[in-house]
């Protein structure tokens, strides 16, 4: 049984301007110990996907479909029950470590709270476990630092604290939403290395959301590319970088400035702008920016085709003879 199974997930927000379809008919599964990289532009629905999984949608959002985690259905689960899962079995790291830590409480208060709530530890044991975890994420002098407030840490250190906090209960699934985007490259490299190391140690599954294809290349087993709230391509990481099939994936890979090529040539760029989720076209969401479009793209949503056992693509071109 996969650790996480998402089936026909649809997440919709009611706004004054109409319904916003953030996630549309999305299905995938995640095995134990697997790292799934999710790539997409802002507005592709990647963050709303993971917020749906841990049931943290804004109050005007609702979701349909099915999310099964360790065999339990999360859609429609009571808050009391889901509270036992998130923070305990599912850990989450957010993009901005400053806004996710409470500035009024010491790191100790914020960390021990997790253990006392989910695992019923007493304060002294919780403190000990927290210090061990801060050691594991390489925070020097953890025994002293744990009594400090978030503002006394640098950005990279705060992100380490966030990771330590997410891992306190040894979750089976760790969700990381752009954990290194707000950090400098040198610190980003530290954090990615740390996450790889911790995964080997604790064996959890990871869903890694990022728009940085370099980070994806280094950390994922499988990659899911999202566009306009749908999966446009999913494949194992080597397959995706070697044999990208969707025009959007191809464009994305070509538009990344790279260090290992001569910098003289102009960058390939994808023309146009990301689609408006309020007015998604009836056909393929990428059609306006696609240079390979054919007439059917305007009218029909391309189905997600299984082109090999592990490679899925949603593009009408795959259907051409």
């Amino acid at each position: 049984m996969p650790l996480l199974e998402v089936n026909n997930l649809r997440t919709v927000f009611h706004t004054n301007d109409g319904e916003v379809y953030a996630v549309n008919d999305l299905s995938f599964s995640l095995e134990k110990g697997e790292t799934l990289g999710v790539v997409g532009e802002s507005g592709s629905g990647k963050s709303q996907l993971v917020l749906s999984i841990i049931n943290l949608l804004a109050s005007n959002g609702r979701m349909e479909g099915s999310i099964r985690f360790q065999g339990k259905e999360l859609v429609g689960m009571k808050t009391r029950d889901i509270n036992r899962i998130r923070g305990d079995r599912i850990g989450m790291i957010f993009q901005d470590p400053m806004t996710c830590l409470n500035p009024y409480l010491t790191i100790e208060r914020q960390m021990t709270e997790v253990l006392m709530l989910h695992q019923g530890l007493n304060r002294a044991d919780a403190r000990r476990r927290s210090i061990d975890m801060l050691d594991a994420v390489h925070i020097p002098d953890a025994g002293n630092r744990i009594g400090r407030y978030p503002h006394e840490f640098s950005g990279g250190m705060r992100q380490r604290v966030m990771i330590a906090m997410a891992l306190l209960c040894h979750p089976d699934l760790l969700i990381a939403d752009e954990p290194s985007t707000a950090l400098d490259v040198t610190v980003q490299a530290q954090i990615i290395q740390l996450m790889n190391e911790l995964q080997q140690e604790f064996g959890m599954s990871i869903i890694m959301i990022t728009h940085d294809l370099g980070v994806i290349a280094g950390i994922s087993d499988n990659v899911m590319v999202m566009y306009g709230g749908r999966i446009c391509e999913q494949a194992p990481v080597y397959e995706l970088f070697e044999n990208p099939r969707h025009p959007y994936t191809q464009g994305l890979l070509q538009s990344v400035p790279r260090l290992d090529t001569a910098g003289d040539a102009k960058l390939h760029s994808i023309p146009g702008n990301p689609p408006n989720l309020l007015q998604l076209p009836p056909g393929c969401a990428f059609v306006d920016r696609c240079q390979k479009g054919i007439p059917v793209c305007d009218q029909q949503q391309p189905p997600l085709l299984q082109i090999s056992p592990e490679h899925r693509v949603a593009c009408h071109l795959e259907n051409l003879p």
Binding site: S42, Q188, Y238, V256
Partner: protein, 326 residues
């Protein structure tokens, strides 16, 4: 080539109020501490470093947006460094800036045409309404905005389009120097490539000199002719683009280049390097000697006692390090 911008030993220091109650002792933050360089007409200098290394303050110091503590700035032969605000103003027309956050740098209550026309109203007040409108339209077209968007407000645009508006506003006066302060770091990859290509086209067309500030060395590689790497307010390495990326001689430059993930799983997973440990030290109390020594794998005793001075290791390639080399 002619030198457009000459910066000589520029220092920008900030005085911070002391913490002691009885004997408040002001602390000095040396945000920019002795930076010198030349920028030729039509050339792009990339300025790279981690957040807090002083690269934005350097740009602001050059533009006169913060007052400089010491050193001087010459733009096209005119000394700008110690002009008062009023005299400086007439030179501002010649140097413009594009900011990092595309939406936050546009007034939400002004339409696109008002935003782009504002520099013209300030610097070319004699211009008639019709002439102004023509200029706005032509620059809008040039940066890839549609004529029917002229009366829209910034919130109706995506990030990439807002950055195009910011570029139009900066270029409508036809400046000779354009400072870009992290212009693409808030944008998605596919849009980032559009904006970089646009800047390259505009540079060629208008013979612009650019200071391109970024923390992403791969973006800088795409757009710069020369690159300067900064650490804690000081220049650590300057060289032509190809030379810098081929032979990074300062350990910090090396570490920055190594830290960039390469979008290819085969290469990325077989890359052997140890990322730089630790964080940027506090600029209020930089380490003695070489300020990079606390994180440097090559540090020795001399690094703690003596601050390295920039040396030209091969022509046009300057390094401030006691132990330079690949």
């Amino acid at each position: 080539m002619t030198t457009l911008l000459h910066v000589d030993d520029l220092k920008v220091h900030f005085r911070l109020p002391g913490e002691g109650l009885l004997r408040p002792k002001a602390k000095i933050l040396r945000a920019v501490d002795g930076i010198s360089f030349n920028l030729e007409a039509g050339e792009t200098l990339g300025i790279v470093g981690e957040s807090g290394c002083g690269k934005s303050t350097l740009a602001r110091g050059i533009l006169g947006l913060v007052s400089i503590t010491a050193g001087n700035v010459w733009l096209a032969g005119t000394e700008l460094g110690h002009l008062d605000m009023r005299s400086l103003r007439s030179y501002r027309k010649n140097m413009q800036i594009v900011f990092q956050d595309p939406l936050a740098s546009l007034d939400p209550r002004m339409t696109v045409s008002e935003i782009i026309a504002e520099p013209l109203q300030v610097f070319e007040p004699h211009l008639g309404k019709e002439a102004r409108r023509k200029k706005v339209q032509s620059i809008m077209e040039r940066v890839g905005l549609l004529p029917n968007q002229i009366n829209r407000y910034p919130h109706e645009f995506s990030g990439g389009q807002c950055q195009r508006i910011g570029i139009a506003r900066a270029l409508v006066l036809k400046p000779s120097l354009l400072v870009c302060d992290e212009p693409v770091s808030a944008l998605d990859v596919s849009i980032q490539a559009q904006i970089i290509n646009l800047l390259l086209d505009l540079q060629e067309e208008m013979n612009l000199s650019m200071l391109f500030i970024a923390h992403d060395l791969s973006v800088v590689k795409q757009i710069s002719h020369r690159v300067m790497v900064m650490y804690l307010g000081k220049m650590v390495e300057t060289a032509s683009r190809d030379e810098l990326y081929r032979n990074p001689s300062h350990p910090y430059t090396r570490a920055l280049i190594d830290a960039i993930p390469i979008p290819d799983p085969v290469i990325e997973r077989n890359k052997h390097f140890s990322p730089l440990q630790g964080d940027l030290p506090s600029p209020l109390s930089p380490p003695s000697g070489c300020s990079f020594r606390t994180r440097c794998p090559r540090a020795t005793d001399v690094c703690a006692t003596e601050a390295p001075v920039p040396r030209e290791i091969i022509p046009e390639h300057w390094v401030s390090c006691h132990h330079p080399g690949y």
